[in-house]
Symmetry: C2
Subunit: 114 residues, 2 copies
């Protein structure tokens, strides 16, 4: 599985609006191969947003960025951002809460092994 840890800075006072955009349409991510997608407000920077993601593969992640809903959300969010981004890619080995992208009705079990 492919992991992505990213952050972005919102213009002052706009963080909540950007977070709302990031969470809008989250229901459709699982069908696109997403195992985990977590949006959070930085505890040490009032304007920064952290997003951690786990996808079936890097290809699934890249393809998701081309989905019409995602492209629209990115276009709407960009004017509210300062342009200060960070990103880190990884190979996810296991953990808790990774579900199963292919079985939306499945139980959320611990997933280990590689």
């Amino acid at each position: 599985m492919y992991g992505y840890i990213g952050s972005m800075r919102a213009r002052p006072g706009m963080r909540d609006d950007v977070i709302a955009l990031l969470l809008d349409g989250v229901d459709g991510l699982r069908a696109a191969g997403c195992h985990s997608y977590v949006v959070s407000a930085c505890a040490t920077d009032d304007d920064r947003i952290w997003v951690t993601e786990v996808w079936e593969s890097a290809t699934h992640h890249a393809a998701s960025l081309q989905l019409p809903a995602t492209r629209a959300a990115i276009a709407a969010a960009m004017p509210m951002l300062t342009g200060e981004f960070t990103s880190q890619e990884s190979q996810v080995v296991g953990g808790l809460g990774l579900g199963r992208a292919a079985s939306p009705g499945g139980r959320e079990d611990a997933a280990g092994g590689r």
Copy 2:
């Protein structure tokens, strides 16, 4: 919910051993208030490990570090680490794969709102 994004560096050749320690006992985390716990190998540093976590609260996270199994895993891992750590705390707003800590048999649904 409380979010934690951390990284650590293993001594050369020891990353897989540290990852195995980090994943051992993951089954018990949900009962301790953990919503998500993802362990991954850094894509740009052969020795770095990333861990992203979501807990019911910062208090739950802190308490988990005192569990005997966790203390034993930390003690076993420390000699294999270089001491180079990073950490970032956040307030988790929502996403996918956050499950429900209090209902281990529950389905993994998207969780939004704060």
